[in-house]
């Protein structure tokens, strides 16, 4: 699928004015866990890391394509599917859309650029706010949303929770979805679409931000709301959202943010309890609390 998307972007840039990513519902429900479980069992972590890197590269190609890339979403867009949606130039949601980053359910964190996108949103909000602190958005929105695997249960909720952006389209009738998405893509192209430039000065919450997320986690752990391993996964998520263990308020590049989330993802994959969660999900369809 990653190859297909990369090829589609390349062809669109070469031959077309725009690209619409669409799939009849569900839009996409994330990575193939069976393949991930098999690779883990074979301890092919280098291969897994290369796959994640390619996933990130695909997200970045979608985001920085020379032509507008519009995601037309209906039904579930979860995990990696959600991350592709987040990286599109524009989104057209059917009202009945279920969007979320649900990786913590299997002991993982988003690593296809999802954490990076939330860190970027925090940075942009901080730029507009007095004090320039990205942490309030991280703690109040991103961390809680991803740590609790919250799924937006409507198109509007998806935008409000940060999976889309103000200005995205919502269509009430799903049969209009593709039509609106194509029209939107064409309009963007005809308006002289310019791909966003790569961000290189992203202010992150850093070490203090991670510790403050851990403060929330340790209270939930001690209160018996989460397990020791949830604390471990939550800390990895905090690192990815806060730009890693760097100084608070430091500026980092997009590449660094992707490196951090990929590193944390692979480290979690090496953990026995994450592997147990993946297998349990495959066998039962339900998350394992271990």
């Amino acid at each position: 699928m990653l190859d297909g998307l990369l090829e589609a972007v390349a062809r669109a840039e070469r031959d077309l004015d725009a690209l619409v990513i669409w799939h009849e519902p569900p839009f996409a429900v994330g990575a193939n866990l069976k393949q991930v479980a098999e690779a883990c069992a074979a301890k092919q972590f280098d291969r897994l890391e290369r796959t994640v890197a390619k996933f990130q590269q695909t997200s970045m190609r979608i985001k920085h394509a020379a032509v507008p890339v519009v995601a037309a979403v209906e039904g579930m867009a979860l995990g990696g599917g959600c991350e592709f949606v987040m990286h599109a130039s524009h989104r057209v949601f059917a009202q009945e859309s279920y969007v979320g980053l649900v990786e913590v359910g299997v002991g993982l964190i988003p690593a296809g650029g999802g954490c990076k996108e939330f860190a970027l949103q925090a940075h942009r909000m901080a730029q507009r706010a007095a004090g320039g602190d990205p942490f309030p958005f991280i703690i109040q929105t991103a961390f809680q949303t991803i740590a609790q695997a919250e799924v937006a249960k409507s198109a509007l909720a998806a935008i409000q929770m940060g999976f889309g952006q103000q200005g995205d389209d919502i269509v009430m009738h799903p049969r209009e979805l593709l039509y609106v998405a194509i029209r939107r893509a064409r309009a963007l192209a005809e308006a002289g679409y310019q791909a966003p430039l790569p961000e290189r000065q992203i202010v992150v919450a850093g070490r203090n931000g991670i510790a403050t997320c851990q403060m929330l986690l340790v209270n939930m752990l001690e209160g018996g709301f989460i397990s020791e391993y949830d604390f471990r996964v939550g800390t990895a998520l905090a690192r990815a959202l806060c730009g890693g263990e760097v100084e608070t308020g430091m500026s980092v590049s997009t590449e660094w943010l992707l490196d951090v989330e990929r590193h944390e993802f692979v480290e979690l994959l090496k953990e026995e309890k994450t592997q147990q969660r993946i297998v349990h999900m495959l066998e039962t369809g339900k998350p394992l609390r271990n």
């Binding site: 942490f135 931000g209 510790a211 403050t212 340790v218 209270n219 209160g223 018996g224």
Partner: protein, 399 residues
Amino acid sequence: MSKSMQDAYIVAAVRTPVGKKGGMFRHVRPDDMLAHVLKAVVGQVPELDLTEIGDVIVGCAMPEAEQGMNVARIGLLLAGFPSSVPGITINRFCSSGLQAVADAAARIRLGEADVMIAAGTESMSVMPQIMGNKVSINPAVFAKEENYAIAFGMGLTAEKVAQKWGVSREDQDAFALASHQKALAAIDQGLFRDEIAPYPVYTHLPGSNGTPRVVEHQADTDEGPRRDTSLETLARLRPVFAARGTVTAGNSSQMSDGAGAVLLMSEAALKRYQVTPIARVAAYAVAGVPPEIMGIGPVAAIPKALARVGIRQENLDWIELNEAFAAQSLAVMRELDLDPARVNPLGGAIALGHPLGATGAIRTATVISAMKRDPNLKYGMVTMCIGTGMGAAGIFERV
């Protein structure tokens, strides 16, 4: 000002009524509440030359934003005090207001001032979250597991105390209900009337033709006590801080807004102004305990304060034990074998509210008011637990 180690006397103590977070004081600034009690407390000694005030020490647990910028100095200037009067804001979380009384007394004892004001102000309505405007914890806390408790929320520490001291949910709820019942009885009997300086709340609402409509409300009664609560209602509340816990919103202190102020004088000032004091600041003590059981703090502080006065706890006629949580209040009472009849006779923070840094000054006003009412009341104490694991106790002796 040449004397040293003289006694410090309380000549007046007042407070605002206490509002619920988001309640009657939701649009009232903490510096305005402070200015109000400062004016009210000096108003009780009309002959006082305000330029004699050596310092205004104000406790505030979250001294930032509306209550930042050294709220003590701003409050005293807003109160119309002469600009020559200085002001300082201090913070020891929930004991800040009591610490202000202790520090003011200490300055008098040392002979550095003859007239001092101690106060506390806190608006939890203006705080976006309980830990202030910006929460930022040191990563070093998570470098060692033994430091994790620094990050514990207060409710979680109450759960730890409940577990360690075996305080049941039923006992906590019964204690909470009693707090409301005692507070309501006191309100009905007008027992807070003497200590409360009624606060005129002016609310500016959209009016007509661009002119705001100003609505005035005289706040003169504590907003927290609930007449509709019952053991059944309290039992239905779910634990907030632990999945299988016992601490609920109903058996915890209320988040509140309020202010209190205490006027202290040296013996020389008493003579000069011919003022009759109500009490002497007999002793103050603070002590540390492990952060994860911060609620037990008074157990460490009270014996130290008693020893300094040279009395036993049986000599304490009136104890204001801040009800941060029913769990810790009961644990403290059981551990020290405090007489329940003497603890919070008019209810406590579960009913009356707990505006953090103001509580110490507010409850001092309650003890002083009780001493004015009851000539048999010799020793009164204000005590509380403090976040990150401390306890404070201040003892006042009728004179």
